[in-house]
């Protein structure tokens, strides 16, 4: 069993109201020095078989066509290293 993580973030040029709301709230809560916040999604996929290039290619395809909306979002796919949380 292996874990693959897909991170999906709004493209930088797209308005991110969620991230902005968090950013505006942080100084009010006493957390300063944070100049920008973007909020995105994180998917953790557990794979049955080995994470070889073929498996990763399929996950990239799933991310492209389904997990992310590439009209407004970018994504990255990576294998989570053993023991990483």
């Amino acid at each position: 069993m292996a874990r693959v993580v897909v991170d999906v973030m709004l493209k930088p040029e797209i308005l991110d109201p969620q991230g902005q709301a968090v950013q505006r709230a942080l100084p009010r809560l006493g957390f300063d020095g944070i100049t920008d916040v973007r909020q995105g999604k994180r998917f953790e996929l557990e794979l049955e078989g080995p994470v070889d290039e073929a498996a990763l290619a399929r996950i990239r395809e799933a991310a492209e066509s389904f997990l992310a909306n590439t009209v407004i979002e970018d994504f990255t796919v990576r294998v989570e290293a053993e023991g990483e949380k």
């Binding site: 109201p17 969620q18 709301a21 968090v22 709230a25 809560l29």
Partner: protein
Amino acid sequence: MTIRVGVVTFPGSLDDHDARRAVRIAGAEPIALWHKDKNLQQVDAVVLPGGFSYGDYLRCGAISRFSPVMESVIEQAQAGLPVLGICNGFQILCESHLLPGALTRNDHLHFICRDQKLRIENTSTAWTSDFEPGQEITVPLKNGEGGFVADERTLDMLEAEGRVIARYLDLNPNGSRRDIAGISNAAGNVVGLMPHPEHAVEPLTGPTTEGLPFFTSILKRLVNA
């Protein structure tokens, strides 16, 4: 004497006007409270209304819980001030840890608006004493994140202490654990409820008027106090 019930407006509150109307129909005086204001104007009770405060952007209620008004609400609720949180208000109460558990995304992932049947499970809280024990009512429900969750121990504790104040009947609209629609704190002065009793106070605009006892309960309790 007139009972004064404060209704807080957060940025993004939507049902604040409706909550004030319900308070008025119940016979109390609604007082508008502003989120930036710590002063609760000596109200006798507080309603945290429904809506999408701060857009519900981080988590529902997560940002509102840090507003100045909540400092006072939290402090006074702990001292016994009756507080009712409806929908977004319930979410704010959980985020504030005045109530246990959390409200999560509906299990079907959609916003849902429907006339919902409930059973009132506890009539000894500040906000439910005007109901008959076991009374079944229908009031509107509308939310996207209304699934009540808590760990098993907390759920057992809520059941054992009679703190589940309302349960969904016929259909569980959002995947709430144990069909929970509303709960109270241990003292019974703080109540959180996912459905909207303030939309069931007039025959013309609501499915029933069965939401009204939530607001008349508080009157009786305060008058008798």
